[in-house]
Amino acid sequence: MRLLLPLLIALPLTHSACSHRDADGATNSTNANASVDGNTGTQMSKHANSKERAPLVLDHDFGVVPHGEGRTHEFALDLSQLNEPHVPLRVHLECSCGRAELVMRKPDGTERHIDGTGYKHNLPTEDEQAILRILLDTRKKEARDIGSTISRGYIVLQPLSDETGMARERWAFVVRFAIDSPVTLHPFSELDFQSVSQSMQGEILTTMRGDENHPNLEFLSISTTDESLEATLEPDDGRTVLRTRCTPGRFGNHRGLVLVKTNLPGYVIALEAKWKVVADLEATPMRKVSFRAAFDRAQKPGVEIRQAVLVIDHNRHRSPEFLVRGIVGDDGRDVSHCFEIKMTPVPTEDRRQRMTVRYLGGLLTGDEPAAQAPVTFRGKIILAKHEKDIVGGDDPTLPIRLVVFPSKTP
């Protein structure tokens, strides 16, 4: 039986997944289930018919749901189709805008939630109907059309006779839907500012217009959820341009929303914005390069690949180039001649460069006692900007810690 149930479920489920749809987009397998499709919001309007049996295949097609609306569907679960009593434990649905609930409903409409244990009290009583409720909220999705999508889920059931939990089963289900957004956003329906440096302001332009079904869509007002975000609406030749500016505030990653009210009743476009506030001059993963080297000789070319950091000047008023102003030890000694520093641009990242460091020898002065092991070198590489990029006396530098441990092997 343990193998049989998944087999029974899997075979028709696969069949239904492959089957083409009716003209209205609905699959036949949902006929026995009560549904509130077509209503906006997620309120129940009628109860599942407890007399009808839901088939083992739980498959429902919500059809095309207008963006911003919700849908609810209920599967009336006929647990008697299983050859022994099974207690539903929990339900899982893999869907970013969907939620699944398991409830027991009485004829008067009152419901109780199950508590996730395998005890008998979580079985439906004689006058109760076990309901799997799927709630779809398209507001959790970005404002764009989404073609036919399948979300999968499962109910975990435990046979009442099972004292150990070893015979738990999964009852698989699928829900299908598509989303129709009344608005077309270009280029994207999200705002990804990436890094916003202290001296710069991020700006993204998004054009908005109603789609072919909503040519008269109007954008009425705009607000944001974060004071770092400032947005304006600008008419532009029959369309509207949303100009969103991001002003750097506290360092770190941030997320917020830009909300645009429309003339569609209750419909607000929410654009998610992400940004990271960073310093103008950055080195990642950190301002430090450390490695091991034999102090008495140069490292072989090629090893420097792993002795690297990424450096960037986010200030677009300057060129992205850096120059090495000097390499000094913590004792003040100039050791520039001991290291080779190379800068290479990072493909696809126009301002970022990879700085590699190779030891060329020369840290030993020759005065060290022969018996004394070389001590770790600690110093810093000072990166600076070219003269042409130094404006008004602002001479920014990016010091990078340099630590060279003596090699363990001779």
């Binding site: 970013s96 999964r170 990653n253 941030h254 990271k276």
Partner: protein, 487 residues
Amino acid sequence: MTQAQLARRLILAFVAATLVATFAQCENDEDERANGQQDPKNSQENNAALTPPPDAIRILISGSMLGHLEPCGCASGQLGGLARRYQFIGEQRNYDLLLEGGDLVGGNTPLDKLKLFTTSQVLFMMERNYDAVGVGLRDLSLPLDDWSGFLLGGPAVATNLTSKQEAWPAMPFLDKAIRDYNVRIASLLLPELPKSMQGEGATVTRTDPAAAWAKVFEGQDAAMIRIAMVHGNDTQIRNIIPKLSPQPDLVIGVDTFYIEPDPAAKDIGGVPLVFAGIRGRVMLDARLWREGGKARVACETVPLTGSKTVPGGGGDPDVKSVVLMHRMNVAEENVLAQMAEQTPTPNGADYIGNTACGACHPTAMAAWKASKHAHAWDTLVKAEADPKRYGWPVTKYPDCVGCHTVGYGEKTGFKTIEATPDLADVGCERCHGPGSKHIVAPATNKLGIIGGVLKSEMCAQCHDFEQSPEFLYTERWQKITHGLEPK
């Protein structure tokens, strides 16, 4: 084989593949079934309704990344990746602990070493440092020198592992003071070390986990909050919990097969147990407190999603750059060549390439040419040329190349596009096996037939739950079906 036999085999394969596809995430349930040590009817698996008090300890948890620095991008909607993880972590302002279970890499290849290097850069060098990182068997599979070198700067914890090596980076426990709480974090490895790591010359020794746990809490205040990151499978983890004294306040299971962590903590004899998931697809956002002396946990899973509309969008930009640097390093160090031809072929024969197969199997060759498999390499080339989505040397990255060529990693298999052009794309021998012996004596050296000698699970080597979430064997087979040559 008669048509009936063939049909029967296809049906069997269909059923097997269907089960694989439909229940791709059943592993944890299987483990639940395997657990017979405690009464699950006492499990409070529905603790979503728990309301944490304001001073509850907030813990962000990840684990079992297994070298998945970022989703490969083969399918849309893939979860995970270091950049998205750090975007999420960076947005959080008020967490108390950042814990990583361990098993950062999946194996012991030159690529794994570079992955660990990059992972340790992100986890231990960037602004939001982890508070503790457990040590799993996969981590130990790397040479200790490599592993310890990368983790030396990080807060590695291994409570029941010891080493005489000076460079051993792990501590038996780590402490952190959080408001009025003193928190001690331990990490236990439940499986025995592999034979190759035991005996004379062993660099690491595993001790009894329950004894090691007891030792680190010996003489400690009962008010101390005790967190255990436990490596093992679901059953092993459930079984060890009752043996841990003093009782942990939270056990984080690091089970490398536990694909989809349940947000509701499992209650194992009063100890909340959560799982960290695999491949770094999600993070757990947990709140831990004590109520009447009993540990309580309210937990949410946070799927690490990328941008749905901006190509390559989402994720921490700095971490993305570090991962990009990793991609470049892999290409520059020519890791692809280092990992080629490392293992014997499955049937001992050599790969001969599609052209040779096509000479005797023109019908199958024609069908193959019309399939997407015939353009698999080109997919990588196009991805490499698309700076918005990739833009890095995809054709030099072993994880990608392995699924877009024939026999990569095996003797006589794909090496580079220049050296082995006939083994680019997903050709005949990717499914049927190397053909050098078959081509000499076809009658006595039959190759595998899908649905027959070969299992349809072979498809899942590449078309797995992440790379091909919609994969159904029966559907896809129709796209590549090529049948037998007419007599």
